[in-house]
């Protein structure tokens, strides 16, 4: 794995690439339809955060 690949992996792991993935998803599945602005996207994503926890 290259350094760039590792960086990308870490960004994926922390969820930091979520907005890029969202834009990608909209372009693939719903081309031409409007997309959320970045700030609004993060707001909704955080509000939908569900706890996943164990012992």
């Amino acid at each position: 794995m290259t350094w760039g690949g590792l960086w990308g992996f870490l960004r994926d792991l922390t969820g930091e690439r979520a907005y890029e993935r969202y834009l990608d998803h909209r372009a693939r599945r719903h081309p031409g339809e409007p997309v959320l602005a970045e700030k609004e996207f993060w707001r909704r994503r955080t509000d939908a955060h569900r706890p996943r926890t164990c012992c």
């Binding site: 992996f9 870490l10 960004r11 994926d12 792991l13 922390t14 969820g15 930091e16 979520a18 907005y19 993935r21 969202y22 998803h25 909209r26 599945r29 970045e38 700030k39 996207f41 993060w42 707001r43 994503r45 955080t46 509000d47 939908a48 955060h49 569900r50 706890p51 996943r52 926890t53 164990c54 012992c55």
Partner: protein, 709 residues
């Protein structure tokens, strides 16, 4: 070029040989110094063989995972709940969700029986029970659109199984939160350093929440880095506080800490998620990786010798002061997380299956994720077995049994047959920057001493590492308290919502506050009684937590077995039926002893009778209960705990009976399938974490066609 078969032999014969040597040394060594490295080798070699052969058999032969079939993530790809996720990322998320403080606590408490019983159970248990449960639940949930364990139990076993699952989840949640919160209380009472650094995690998380909300949304990595740096600073700050005039302001009693935790739990669970919960989750995940790496480095750098016996006399006579009861069944109850944890079934159903890219990846995520947690448990066990046994008992015996002074504590430990002097006790406390280490039961502080011991041999200040370890353990636990209360509230609102619509509306404030208060009140009650228990809270409550967790495992394994039979895999149903039988025997024996044992150390009702009779006879003190008030307390606690143990056992019996009824029916008449219809997959991705040579070639071809991952 060697043939494939020769290459396989060249790898697996040495691995098997290493494992065999390590196990032989662990099994035969008596009375001589055994290096902890042998435990590591035994674990790693066993995991490797189990993963290569047994998990492959389950995935290929039993479950017949099919990469030609689209997963729910591919079919329903909606960009949030369902999305094909890189297997390495999903492995990380799944592991972070299943592993918390549990695998760090149970093995430490079970170390009183010696290093061998815990090691055997953690390794054999994970290979044949825990990892199998996680994997099979993940598979069946994935084939059913990511349905939750409760829904699977209701669909496959029936309404009785469904209700039992729901009740089990709610009650295990309450007991879990109480026990974990008790661990935090025992770590922080009379510790200004610890209390300050944990208290600081709240403003740090709030700052992170504000940063992500208003300053730089989406910059998760940079704020996690800032947060982690602030956490380290707060540990340094704690030392300064403990040596300054502020020390008194952060020196809290167990009772004060309990009330603060209960208040915190309530407020945290009703605040918007972005303020506290989401940033705490980021921090916790960040720290989790740090802990695993730190423990590993510590053990490898120090190559410590085990100071505990292989099997102590407590394993045989059941007189262990930390958790009472003999090896069978109590080692299997005390160590749940790391060997077999029913709680994982909640993570393996529901969220993770909705994110899987390819069916064959369930092997590395389900089975591999659980093996990783097991390895964390093994490292925690090692850390507990390398500290001085005298100190171990001085820290983990019930407080009232240790008495108020260092002299009384040293005396209590000596009467067990171990030696520690009051001077050694005060030196040990001074080394880690505490006023005392006596009666810090619950596992977390003991593990912190172990980690500090391991790391200080190469990396300096013992006091810093001790408080660093306490800080992250408490951080995990507070995250669980916050998240668990919320999960419990959702479940309660959902359940009550079935009969009273309004209560199910999650945006209705009175319903929200009311249900949060009920959940916090429930665990708060057990926490309060635990902190004040004259017989020692951990000693009384930890077995209940273990029984509840294994009860949930019984439900999950029963669901798995039912599904294997119903889907025409009855020939292979033993892969979950055998662990289920074992788990049922363990859980039922443990609850039987907790309810009916005549031994007052073990049986709740025997305790109740002893103290009630003494009260009736007009006595004003008995054993560690020094007043009639405390004696009445023992009577009440023992009654509540005994009723709970009986109730858990009843749940297991009901679910099992109902499941067996369904099995017989399904064997006589094939059941209609509940699987989602087959959809052909258009995605391609490697199965394991590291792509094989063949997969790399395919990856190249796929990217050439523009359809690659």
């Amino acid at each position: 070029m060697l043939s494939r078969k020769t290459r396989q032999l060249a790898i697996w014969v040495p691995v098997a040989a290493l494992g065999a040597v390590a196990w032989t040394i662990l099994a035969l060594a008596r009375g001589e110094n055994v290096s902890a490295v042998w435990i590591l080798f035994a674990a790693l070699a066993s995991y490797a063989i189990a993963y290569r052969f047994y998990s492959r058999f389950i995935v290929k032969t039993v479950l017949r995972a099919d990469d030609g079939r689209a997963t729910p993530a591919e079919v329903n790809d909606d960009g949030h709940d369902f999305q094909p996720t890189d297997r390495r990322v999903l492995f990380g998320h799944h592991f972070a969700a299943i592993a918390g403080a549990g695998p760090l606590v149970g093995p430490v408490l079970a170390a009183q029986m010696g290093y061998l019983p815990g090691t055997l159970w953690i390794i054999i248990g994970v290979i044949f029970a825990g990892a199998v449960q996680d994997l099979v639940v993940l598979f069946f949930s994935m084939r059913r659109g990511g349905r939750s364990l409760g829904q699977l139990a209701r669909d496959e076993i029936g309404p009785v199984g469904g209700i039992a699952a729901l009740v089990a989840v709610l009650s295990i949640m309450v007991i879990l939160l109480a026990v974990l919160a008790l661990v935090v209380v025992n770590a922080l009472k009379a510790s200004p350093w610890g209390t300050f650094s944990i208290a600081m995690t709240v403003p740090i998380a709030l700052f992170m929440g504000l940063y992500l909300r208003y300053l730089r949304p989406g910059r998760i990595m940079e704020i996690s880095g800032i947060g982690a740096a602030l956490l380290v600073l707060s540990v340094f700050g704690g030392r300064w506080v403990s040596e300054s005039g502020w020390a008194d302001a952060f020196t809290w009693s167990g009772q004060t800490l309990t009330l603060v935790l209960i208040g915190y739990g309530f407020v945290a669970s009703v605040l918007p998620v972005w303020m506290l919960l989401a940033p705490r989750d980021y921090l916790s995940a960040f720290m989790k990786v740090g802990v695993v790496v730190m423990l590993g480095i510590g053990i490898l750098a120090a190559l410590p010798t085990l100071r505990t016996e292989a099997v102590t006399s407590f394993a045989r006579n059941g007189d262990g002061p930390v958790v009472a009861g003999s090896l069978f069944p109590f080692v299997f109850i005390t160590i749940a997380c790391g060997a077999l944890s029913g709680f994982h079934a909640l993570i393996s159903s529901g969220t993770t299956p909705k994110l899987i890219e390819k069916e064959s990846q369930i092997r590395v995520i389900g089975y591999g994720g659980m093996l990783t947690e097991s390895f964390v448990a093994i490292m925690a066990l090692i850390a507990a077995c390398v500290i001085d046994p005298g100190l171990y008992y001085a820290m983990n015996m019930p407080g009232p049994a240790l008495g108020p002074t260092l002299e009384s504590a040293a005396g209590a430990v000596t009467s067990l047959g171990f030696t520690i002097t009051p001077d050694q006790l005060s030196a040990a406390a001074r080394d880690v920057g505490e006023s005392t280490l006596v009666a810090r039961s619950g596992g977390a502080p003991t593990l912190a001493v172990g980690i500090a011991d391991l790391l200080s041999s190469t990396l300096g200040s013992k006091a810093f590492w001790y408080h660093f370890a306490v800080m992250f353990e408490a951080l995990f636990i507070l995250t669980t308290v916050d998240a668990g209360t919320r999960v419990g509230r959702f479940m309660l609102q959902d359940t009550v919502g079935n009969v009273w619509k309004k209560a199910g509306d999650v945006s209705w404030k009175p319903g929200l506050y009311g249900s949060s208060a009920i959940i916090v009140g429930a665990w708060g009650y057990f926490l309060w009684t635990g902190v004040n228990d004259p017989l020692g809270g951990i000693n009384q409550l930890f077995p209940l937590f273990g029984i509840a967790n294994q009860l949930l495992a019984a439900i999950a394994l029963a669901v798995c077995t039912t599904l294997l039979i119903k889907t025409g895999r009855a020939k292979y149903a033993w892969i979950t039926a055998i662990p289920l039988a074992w788990d049922a025997v363990v859980t039922l024996t443990a609850s039987w002893q907790k309810v009916f044992s005549d031994d007052v150390k073990v049986g709740f009702f025997a305790q109740r009778a002893l103290y009630q009779d003494a009260l009736d006879a007009g006595k004003t003190s008995l054993g560690n209960a020094k007043t009639t008030g405390q004696m009445e307390q023992v009577v009440t606690n023992a009654t509540v705990d005994g009723v709970l143990a009986a109730f858990f056992a009843l749940c297991v019996i009901v679910v099992l009976a109902d499941a067996v009824r369904v099995w017989i029916g399904a064997l006589r008449r094939p059941a209609p399938t509940t699987e989602d219809p087959y959809v052909e997959s258009k995605l391609w991705a490697p199965a394991g974490l590291i792509p094989t040579a063949e997969e790399r070639v395919m990856m190249k071809e796929a990217s050439g066609r523009g359809a690659g991952p």
